[in-house]
C-alpha cells in the first residue's frame, strides 16, 4: 500500500431519533446518516473538516471501502494530499435523500412500512446543512475548521457559512455557483424527463435504468469540455467503416453508453431526481430579494473560491459573481481561476496549482 493511501476505511452510522423538519414543510420521523472519517481529531478539536459531496457522490470520499473501491476524492484526500489527513480530521457524509445508506428514497417509510420511492420528501441544501450540523454535534465537534465542496458540494459549503457563521472558520467553494442558470436548470429538466418518461419509473418490480442511464449520459457531456472530448475520442470509430445503422459506431457513443449503464446499476433514479431538484432550488439570496451581498452579511468564514477555465456547467463567471458579492459584503475572499482542459470534472482532479492553493489557504492564519 502506498504511503499516501488511507487504506481500508470504515462506514459509520449516525441515528437521529427526533423529528426533522424540512424546508418544504414536510418532516422526517428521524433519519439515519452514514459517514466516514479520516485522520485524527486533535486535542483542541480545531482541525475538523467537512467535505460535502456533489450530485452523484457519497460519504465514501477517500480510502478503500468494504468492496475495496476508492473514494470519489481519493486523489485529493489522504496523507500528504491536498486535503492532508495527517493534519486534519476529515468527515464525509451521505446526504439525506441519497442512495448509499443515509435515509432516502430506498429507506422504509415508518408511516406505511414501504420504501419511500418517489414519495420521499423534497430536500434542500439548507436541510442538508442542518442535518450535517446535527452530525457535527454528534461527533462532539465545537465547529468545523473548514467546510469544503465542489459543484453541489460547494453550494453546501456556501450555505454553511451563511446559516452557521459561528460554526465554520473557512470555506472552500469549488466549481460552484450562487444559483443555477436557466441553461443549467434546463439540463436538469431533461435528465429528469429521461427518468420520468421511462416506462419502468415507479413500477413495482423494475427500475428505470434506461432513463437514469440517459440522464447520466447527458450529465456526463456537460461535465467534460469540448476540447477534452475531442482529445479523448475525436471521431474515432469502433470499426474502420461505417455500417449505416444506429448501433454503436463512434467511440464517444460507446463511452457514453457504458457510463450511462454502469451508473444506472449503482445509483438510484429517485435520488437522481431529488438531487437535480436540490440544485435547481438552491438560491440563498432568494430570502434577501436576490441580493447576494446582503445574504453574505453575517458570514465570518474566510472564503476561497476556485473555478476552472474550461468548465461550462459552472463557469468561472459564476464564481466571479460570488467573489464580487463577497467583496461587496466586505468579506475575506480569495478567488482563483485555474487553467484546465477537463471541464467541470476538473474539480475532482489534483493539479499543482489547485493542490497548493487549497493546502496553503487551509494552513495559513495570520
Amino acid at each position: 500500500m502506498s504511503s499516501n493511501s488511507l487504506g481500508q476505511v470504515e462506514t459509520k452510522r449516525f441515528i437521529h431519533k427526533d423529528t426533522f423538519a424540512l424546508k418544504s414543510g414536510k418532516t422526517l420521523q428521524g433519519f439515519e446518516m452514514v459517514y466516514q472519517t479520516y485522520g485524527e481529531l486533535n486535542e483542541a478539536k480545531d482541525n475538523a473538516i467537512l467535505i460535502c459531496h456533489a450530485l452523484s457522490g457519497n460519504h465514501h470520499v477517500a480510502g478503500l471501502n468494504e468492496e475495496d473501491k476508492k473514494g470519489w476524492w481519493d486523489d485529493m484526500v489522504g496523507p500528504n494530499k491536498a486535503f492532508d489527513t495527517n493534519k486534519y480530521f476529515i468527515v464525509g457524509c451521505n446526504n439525506l435523500g441519497g442512495c448509499h445508506g443515509s435515509t432516502g428514497p430506498n429507506s422504509i417509510n415508518p408511516e406505511n412500512n414501504l420504501a419511500y420511492g418517489s414519495s420521499f420528501p423534497m430536500v434542500t441544501v439548507g436541510d442538508w446543512v442542518k442535518s450535517q450540523n446535527l452530525l457535527r454535534t454528534h461527533l462532539g465537534l465545537p465547529y468545523w475548521y473548514a467546510v469544503i465542496g465542489g459543484s453541489l458540494g460547494g453550494m453546501q459549503a456556501l450555505q454553511w457559512s451563511i446559516d452557521y457563521p459561528d460554526l465554520v472558520k473557512k470555506i472552500v467553494v469549488i466549481a460552484a455557483a450562487a444559483k443555477l442558470s436557466a441553461q443549467n436548470i434546463a439540463f436538469n429538466e431533461i435528465a429528469r424527463q429521461a427518468i420520468l418518461a421511462d416506462p419502468n419509473y415507479n413500477s413495482e418490480d423494475k427500475l428505470p435504468k434506461t432513463g437514469l442511464g440517459l440522464a447520466r449520459m447527458l450529465g456526463h457531456i456537460t461535465y467534460l469540455s469540448d476540447d477534452a472530448m475531442r482529445e479523448k475520442f475525436g471521431r474515432d470509430m469502433k470499426k474502420d467503416e461505417v455500417n449505416f445503422s444506429y448501433d454503436v459506431e463512434f467511440e464517444v457513443e460507446s463511452y457514453l453508453r457504458y457510463q450511462g449503464e454502469s451508473f444506472s446499476n449503482r445509483f438510484d433514479a429517485h435520488t437522481y431526481l431529488l438531487m437535480t431538484k436540490v440544485l435547481d432550488y438552491f438560491d440563498p439570496a432568494e430570502a434577501y430579494e436576490g441580493d447576494l451581498s446582503k445574504t453574505l452579511k453575517t458570514v465570518t468564514a474566510k472564503t476561497l473560491l476556485i473555478a476552472f477555465s474550461s468548465d461550462w456547467r459552472f463557469s468561472p463567471e459564476r464564481s466571479r459573481e460570488l467573489a464580487n458579492a463577497f467583496i461587496e459584503a466586505k468579506k475575506d475572499v480569495s478567488f482563483l481561476e485555474i487553467d484546465s482542459p477537463h471541464g467541470h470534472d476538473a474539480f475532482l482532479m489534483p493539479s499543482e496549482t489547485y493542490d497548493n492553493a487549497v493546502q496553503t489557504f487551509l494552513e495559513k492564519n495570520e
Partner: protein
Amino acid sequence: MNKLIGNFIQPEARVLDLGCGDGSLLAFLRKNNQVRGLGLEIDHQKIQDCLQKDVNVVDQDIDSGLSNFQDQSFDAVIMSQSIQALRKPEVALEEITRIGKEAIISIPNFANWRCRLQLILGGTMPVSSALPHDWYSTPNIHLCSLKDFERLCVAHGAEILERRLLSFDGQEQTFMKAAPNLLTEIALYRVKARN
C-alpha cells in the same frame, strides 16, 4: 516604499491593491496599519504567494476592467508601478478614482536623466533598475514622465493631493525637488477624483 505608502493609509482602512504581486505590501499594511486588504493579480505563482501570506487575492486582469467594484467602496486603491503596463492607463485612472476614496499610484519616471542620456547619447531604449526590461520584452507599454502623468490626471478628473519623489529603491530623495522630472526615478502620488 511600503512605509511611504503606509503613511498615506488610515488605520483599519479598506485597501484594494491592483497588481498586488506577492502580497507583501498588503501583508505589511495589515501588520502596520491594521488594514483589511484585497489584492488583484493574474500571475498564479504570485497568487499562491499571497495565499501563503494569508492575503486576500482575486484572480482578475485589470485590463479587462474593474466594473465589478462599486463606487467609493474602498478607502484607498493602490497601483504600484503598474499603470504603465496597462493597455488603457487613462481608463484605469478613472476607474481607480471611482472605486477608491483615495488612490495611491506610483510610476517609474521615463524622463529621468539616465533614461534621457541612454536615448540621446547611447541611441538605445533606456534600461534601468526601475525599468529593467529590453524594449522587445517589456511589459511597460505606456511609459510616461511625471509631467505626462500629471497631465493625464488633469485630463481625466483626478486631483493630485500629494507627490513624493523617490529613487528606484523606494527611498525619498529631497534633492530631486530641484528638478523633479529630470531627477526622480519613481514618483509616488496620492490622488482622488476631482469634485
